[in-house]
């Protein structure tokens, strides 16, 4: 393994993150606070409790997931798209590094940033609601795995994208709707039976459900399904990236 190369990519990307730290932190903190005001205070006053948890607390895992999914995807897609766009990708292609090392560097950095933002949102949430986390280790595990798997997805998008519109398309058109419809702000059991069935095809449901279970010990689907869903998603992304580097798809002419 070319560890120095992995470290170089990781440090380079993290330096970019820290250069724009204020932007990176202010906007998620602000939007999270707004969600609490709108959903927690306005709507929550009418919903009161969901399966024994106050509505304000109930939406915390979903809110974290919403931001973390978007952040890890966009960070990673931008991270690899930018060198392609300005042409510095020649360095990656001509260096003695394997595709796996490139992925660890870029995806690692993107996931780290998303993870930090997830923790910041959790801290922000504490100002608004009382939270006790039932299974903190599971909570962290879900958070880390989610950051990594969606950073992998973002990496694929960054390589696939040929312009900035395409780069923003997937997070905007796919991820945000999936998260909103994935039970961030409600329990699946609140839906009519037909919709409950349809929702089960949304992979994000399993993530949010598992994550929420880590917080409150209750879930829409069983924990095993959630873990399996992440594993399948991650494997699919890794396989796709492996194929990209073998064929040089949109990287090597």
């Amino acid at each position: 393994m070319n560890w120095n190369a992995i470290a170089a990519i990781y440090r380079f990307e993290m330096a970019r993150t820290f250069r724009t730290l204020m932007q990176s932190i202010v906007s998620p903190v602000l939007s999270t606070s707004l969600y609490f005001v709108v959903f927690g205070a306005a709507i929550g006053s009418r919903i009161d409790q969901v399966e024994g948890v106050s509505y304000g607390a109930f939406i915390v895992p979903g809110l974290i997931m919403l931001t973390v999914l978007t952040q890890s995807t966009t960070n990673a897609s931008f991270g690899i798209y930018f060198p392609k766009f300005i042409g510095t990708v020649y360095e990656l292609l001509s260096a003695p590094i394997s595709f796996f090392e490139i992925v660890i560097g870029y995806v690692g950095a993107a996931a780290t940033k998303a993870f930090m933002i997830g923790l910041i949102i959790l801290a922000t949430a504490h100002f608004f609601v009382d939270l006790t986390i039932a299974h903190p280790v599971w909570m962290m595990a879900f958070l880390v795995l989610t950051c990594i798997s969606f950073a992998l997805l973002g990496f694929i998008i960054g390589i696939w994208a040929q312009n900035f519109e395409q780069l923003q398309l997937v997070p905007l058109l796919v991820i945000t709707p999936l998260v909103f419809l994935g039970g961030s702000f409600y329990s699946i059991s609140m839906l009519p039976p037909v919709w409950q069935t349809i929702t089960l095809f949304n992979p994000v449901v399993y993530l949010i459900s598992g994550f929420r279970w880590a917080f409150f010990g209750m879930a829409d689907v069983s924990l095993g399904w959630s873990v399996l869903a992440i594993a399948v998603f991650m494997t699919t992304c890794l396989a796709t990236i492996g194929w990209i580097f073998r064929t040089g798809y949109r990287l090597r002419s």
């Binding site: 560890w3 042409g87 510095t88 001509s94 003695p96």
Partner: protein
């Protein structure tokens, strides 16, 4: 005259004499072809052998395939067929070992605008698996007269400085082979001379340099050998000194008061030919101690030929280059 030199060049296909057995091949390109997705064949079976420590200038017009060839060797593009070894390592199977030996300065100025020079060079060194060594990087920056800019952001540098940053990035992992793809494109005269000095310094440290250029003058100033590529084919690779020496061949054109049809018997001992307009053409080596011109003039007078005018001409590398490429295009 051009034909004369041209034939001399093209008949001399074996490696130049200065490359003795003691030298080792560091780069071997064997029958490499490249067809781009659109169907354009950019390389048509390129063979090239580079000796350790030499400087090769690859001359060729726009679209000849210079960048394509370099990109394939460095791993940025994939060859359609053929094999390449770098320091004996296959550039696909043993890509790590092969690429460790190579530094690449691309034709385009591709740099991260917001990074500092130092950070950017550090990143490159890291990519090649070398531990951080700022002292070594500063040495390289000094060599390139960039040291005072080490903490400047790249976007604040001039074009010539940016090009030098690219060179620093390529050199920071101490490669044995350096590719310079048009190092002096868009660079002023002074910086061009600087570039020549830099290449000379690199040569002293034993680095093998392969550079591409459109300028003959540049190839002459920097290279040990000169290759000419056009339309994806290498037309010739020649030792520069031998080339220049052959170019030392000059012609003396003698116009006569009374044009002649055939060469008089009395002048048969001289390397003379009769020109189309009935004058004489005398071929000689300008660098040789004795040109034989004095003797010739005496013999001319004796043979009763009266000269009306004299002129000399010399073919330049430029002529040959243009000639070769034109012929190839026809």
């Amino acid at each position: 005259m051009k034909d004369l030199v041209r034939n001399a060049l093209l008949n001399n296909k074996q490696p130049a004499a200065t490359l003795g057995d003691s030298m080792t091949t560091i780069l071997n390109v064997s029958d490499v072809t490249k067809t781009y997705e659109g169907g354009h064949q950019a390389l048509k079976g390129v063979d090239l052998e580079i000796e350790e420590g030499e400087i090769l200038a690859l001359l060729g017009p726009n679209g000849a395939g210079k960048t394509t060839l370099i990109s394939i060797i460095c791993g940025i593009a994939t060859a359609s067929s053929g094999t390449i070894t770098v320091g004996g390592f296959d550039h696909v199977r043993d890509y790590r070992a092969a690429r460790n030996l190579i530094g690449l300065v691309p034709q385009e100025i591709n740099l991260e605008p917001f990074e500092t020079v130092m950070n950017s060079v550090r990143f490159s060194r890291g990519l090649f698996g070398k531990p951080r060594d700022d002292a070594r990087i500063e040495e390289i920056l000094k060599l390139l007269s960039l040291h005072d800019k080490k903490d400047s952001r790249i976007m604040t540098l001039s074009g010539g400085m940016k090009r030098r940053v690219l060179i620093a990035k390529a050199l920071c992992h101490d490669p044995k082979i350096l590719f310079l793809d048009e190092p002096t494109a868009g660079v002023d005269v002074e910086l061009r001379k600087d570039m020549w000095d830099i290449v000379a310094k690199l040569k002293q440290t034993g680095v093998t340099v392969i550079l591409t250029t459109h300028y003959i003058e540049e190839a002459e100033a920097m290279a040990d050998r000169i290759g000419v590529i056009s339309k994806g084919e290498i037309l010739l690779v020649e030792d520069k000194d031998a080339l220049i020496k052959r170019l030392g061949q000059k012609e003396l054109l003698i116009e006569l008061d009374n044009p002649i049809e055939a060469l008089p018997e009395a002048l048969a001992s001289h390397p003379l030919t009769v020109s189309d307009d009935g004058g004489l053409i005398y071929t000689y080596d300008a660098q040789a101690g004795s040109t034989g011109i004095t003797g010739l003039l005496a013999d001319l007078r004796e043979a009763g030929l009266h000269m009306s005018d004299l002129s000399t001409r010399q073919s330049s590398l430029e002529d040959i280059f243009v000639d070769l490429v034109k012929e190839d295009a026809a």
